[in-house]
Symmetry: C2
Subunit: 213 residues, 2 copies
């Protein structure tokens, strides 16, 4: 059984993910996760603060990469393009982590305690993005607003990519940002109807019950 | 000491708010809140599930009013205008609750446990808004995306109103939605520079360190 740090850490994460998926989050203990990974409960708590945290490793690394990309974006870019460029530049992290994050997505959706932790992580990421945008000369409340909107667009892009992997994540992300731009407009209905063919996530859409304005 | 439900509930909320503000959230117990309100700890827990919940009363009522306004918005309105109209139509609730929500804002900002609960409440509100938008014929992922963006815009509007009460909340909300529309565009920097004079929250802005694109 490998006792070296990184390998044990990974085994604990995968063991947790599998147990949460198969038995449910509430029904799984840290001791059971440790046992499945072939280590003691004490080792579990050397790696993670609690049972929830085992699913959220690597968030700091992601946040650092994303904020560095925001800082390095071309100075002429406005905040919205900056965010798109930044998310695009870290897409390899999404791709590399997908085997873990895709099943995690479903595990989180099924457990309110994990949703709460996921929201706290999103909030921390928005704070980091806000701070990086402020350094580009955007006022703090504006930076926070656009950070939340960009985060919502990127989540949409990732979810669309999970559903349809035949298209590259970068392309899903670009479409999600375009869709978000259109949706955040007073004439969004009209814009959407016109631009329908170029959108992601249009399959399975409910029929419109009212005419476009 | 009034023992009737609604009055006791209000006293507990105000007692909690004052204690959290003066001593800090972590340093205050449910028993102390109850004592300050002149009731027993048991009465506290008849009204609230835990110490955090005492600050988040009335969220269900707000959610119902907001989603009803979304359903009742003119059928020709797109999702963005629908959200603005809906937030505008519930502005009296913000006004009526401001004596409580404004100091609460600062108390929440100082306590991570309260931030986590506030985020969970926002998430529930976004889910309710998403569902109401879906009933208007918007696809679920799109509705969720625009709901998050609208929520971010409305938070901006309320924060701006807390800072500058000489302008009506409805006007702050309208400006926040306009700002959000501009920020979620590829040419946001340019748009912002042009429209600067009509914006909220521009005071205290950091100087731009780079030219508009």
């Amino acid at each position: 059984m490998p006792r070296n740090g990184e390998a044990v850490r990974k085994r604990l994460q995968w063991s947790a993910l599998e147990l949460f998926r198969d038995r449910g989050y509430e029904q799984t203990t840290a001791a059971e996760i440790a046992a499945r990974a072939g280590v003691t409960e004490r080792t579990f708590f050397r790696h993670f603060a609690d049972k929830r945290d085992v699913l959220f490793d690597g968030e700091a690394e992601f946040s650092e990469a994303l904020t560095a990309a925001i800082s390095n974006a071309h100075a002429a870019l406005g905040p919205w393009e900056t965010l798109l460029v930044a998310f695009d530049s870290v897409k390899q992290m999404f791709v590399a982590n997908r085997p873990f994050t895709e099943p995690r997505h479903r595990v989180i959706a099924a457990a309110p305690a994990l949703q709460e932790r996921a929201m706290a992580k999103s909030r921390a990421l928005v704070a980091a993005v806000t701070s990086a945008l402020c350094k580009r000369g955007i006022a703090e409340p504006d930076a926070n607003l656009v950070a939340w909107m960009g985060m919502a667009a990127s989540s949409y892009g990732v979810a669309a990519w999970f559903k349809d992997s035949s298209t590259d994540l970068g392309e899903h992300m670009r479409r999600a940002f375009q869709l978000a731009s259109r949706l955040a407009q007073p004439n969004a209905t009209q814009a959407r109807t016109k631009a329908k063919s170029s959108e992601t996530g249009t399959r399975g859409r409910k029929p419109r019950t009212r005419p476009a304005s």
